[in-house]
Amino acid sequence: MRVLLVEDDAAIAEFVSRGLREAGFAVDHCGDGRQGLEEALTTPYDVAIVDLMLPGLDGLALIDGMRRRGRDTPVLILSAKRAVDDRVRGLQAGGDDYLTKPFAFAELLARVQALVRRASRSPEPTTLSVADLSLDLLTRRVTRGETVIELRPREFALLEYLMRNAGRVVSKTMILSHVWEQSFDPQTNVVDVLVSRLRDRIDRPFDRKLLRTVRGVGYVLG
């Protein structure tokens, strides 16, 4: 998987490139919009990550240039602007997803992977499994080893999301938006409470703990 990163801030580009390489991506970096467009047009990338404020050519014009010349590489927009209008404008210009700075790298990675999945349209599995934990999406049955685990709907949704992202850290924000479909951040951490309930069901009765908290970042299953 090859990713084009167009970002003029060297420090941000550095940590995003490093993180993506560690996750198994090949990363090309451009610090300039015009150069970025040239790269995007000449090399077949799986995903492009484009900052909006760029020297040379701004991000929206870059995406527009790509789309005009028939490049349908999925684009993740990075922006320091958080207004809904900017998000809408970015998506209208042909971006596929939008992430506001500052962002958690875990979230950026999850979104990049989602874009790759969407583009490749890998077949939807009916059963998810991590170690001896398995979740049947059709019957909504959850088992660990031979034990059947009863879950409330929210707990099931959280587990499904964690299992789909098994081995990857998911942030609290990502959980909020996927499990509750909420775009605002409640003051009390409702995610903490749900995670601890889920942990009670899938981990506490068993020796091997699967759900880990990564302090400051989020949670990881497996």
């Binding site: 929210r154 909420q182 605002f184 951040d185 409640p186 409702v190 409470v193 601890s196 302090r215 970042v217």
Partner: protein, 444 residues
């Protein structure tokens, strides 16, 4: 705009005014002159015609002799000099009475052929007429000159008085741009005209700008003040880890602290931005028809586990379906913040109940808890930005929740209210204008 442009604009208006004024005056002058000249000539012709008639009668009665006598008598009595010539068959002048040269170009003449073929010619000098018209023209010139002067002066006065309010407006804008003092206002004129309307609208615009600027200053002050605390913690955590002997676990701990504090800074920044946007009227609201009971359901769903984990009973009730025109996410956030507070300040075994419904034209959402309550002296201040009551200091929070609720609800045209009894609990109320769900989509 420079004063040169301003002067030339006034001058241009004045010149236009003067030109039209002078053209009008000249048209009147020329018309008067033409009519006067024509009527003077007409009068001369009438005199000649009547003289001709008179001489014809005299000639018929007394012949040439009587005519000659009459002409000579005329020369003595008539104040105006009349030229008379009688021409016989042989083209010889039979009677000639000419006070001066018989010059056809300077004479107004008339000719009458009598029954026997004799021709009587009467001429009248047009000199006095021309003299009158000459003086008339001289007068007209003088009048025109003074009209030009009056028109220029009048034009200048009129344009100055008409442009005065515009100049004052322009000067005020110039001063505001130069000094940045948006507190200045343009005085509104006494007359109810378009200029006064413009001035008033301009002042309203200044009010709005001032509100925005003040809001922005306030937000900036708050941001710089309140970001210092988490930034100090962030810096402290990093510095302590760096100063201590190398230890991987300690580093991990410090880095996690840094991420937590950075997240807190971000949430605070976003919330402060939301509050100042809502307060200044700059918050974009994506209004749609929202059912209050849906909002309550969502909030209950969000906080059920939290309340359960804390041993707090969370109940909800709704009467008639109640709809409001609101930004769904913002309203959900406001309701969630209220319930968040209620659960936070209610001890195990207590109850938080949410009620939604319609009271008259108002849609009401009410959150009642059996928590610690708020002292009476703190009640009016709880909506202030970053105010934290003595009892709430130990709980985690930013002190921004209530002011965000207030700002968002007021941006929707609603009100917030609170009643509390320390030790017994509090009731928070949000009121918004209710909207009919059916039959009146225009209110959406």
């Amino acid at each position: 705009m420079s004063s040169g442009e301003r002067g030339s604009f006034g001058l241009r208006l004045a010149l236009w005014y003067a030109t039209l004024f002078v053209l009008g005056a000249m048209l009147i002058g020329v018309l008067t002159y033409t009519v006067t000249a024509a009527s003077l000539a007409q009068r001369d012709r009438q005199i000649i015609q009547s003289k001709l008639g008179e001489y014809a009668v005299v000639y018929r009665r007394g012949g040439l002799r009587a005519l000659r006598d009459a002409v000579q008598a005329e020369q003595v009595t008539a104040p105006e000099r009349i030229f008379v010539r009688v021409i016989g068959h042989g083209a010889e002048a039979l009677v000639l009475s000419a006070p001066g040269e018989w010059d056809v170009t300077a004479l107004e003449t008339g000719t009458l052929r009598l029954a026997d073929g004799t021709m009587v010619q009467v001429g009248k000098s047009s000199e006095s007429r021309r003299d009158l018209l000459r003086r008339f023209r001289a007068g007209l010139g003088l009048v025109t000159l003074s009209v030009v002067l009056i028109a220029l002066a009048g034009g200048w006065l009129v344009t100055q008085s008409a442009l005065g309010p515009i100049h004052r407006l322009r000067d005020a804008v110039g001063r505001i741009i130069a000094t940045g003092q948006t507190g200045e206002r343009v005085p509104v004129g006494r007359h109810e005209d378009a200029i006064a309307e413009l001035t008033r609208l301009f002042n309203v615009m200044l009010d709005k700008i001032e509100g925005l600027v003040t809001g922005m200053h306030g937000a900036l002050d708050n941001v710089s003040h309140d970001l210092r605390t988490p930034l100090t913690r962030l810096r402290g955590a990093a510095e302590m880890a760096l100063a201590a002997p190398p230890d991987l676990d300690r580093y991990r701990e410090a880095l996690a602290d840094c991420v937590d504090e950075a997240d807190r800074v971000l949430v605070m920044l976003d919330t402060l931005m939301d509050i100042s946007e809502a307060e200044s009227g700059a918050m974009p609201l994506r209004r749609e028809l929202v059912s209050l009971s849906d909002v309550v359901d969502l909030v209950v769903d969000l906080y059920r586990d939290v309340a359960e984990a804390k041993g707090v009973t969370l109940t909800s009730a709704a009467n008639d379906p109640t709809y409001v025109s609101a930004d769904r996410v913002r309203l959900e956030q406001a309701a969630a913040n209220l319930v968040d507070n209620a659960v936070k300040y209610t001890a195990s075994g207590g109850t938080v109940s949410i009620w939604s419904g319609r009271q008259g034209t108002r849609a009401v959402l009410r959150v009642t808890d059996t928590g610690i309550g708020i002292p009476a002296d703190e009640l009016p201040r709880i909506w202030d930005r970053l105010f934290r009551g003595d009892r709430s200091r130990s709980a985690r929070g930013l002190g921004l929740g209530l002011s965000l609720i207030k700002a968002v609800v007021e941006a929707h045209g609603g009100t917030v209210g609170v009643a509390s009894e320390p030790g017994r609990g509090s009731t928070f109320t949000l009121e918004l204008p209710a909207v009919e769900a059916r039959g009146n989509p225009s209110q959406m």
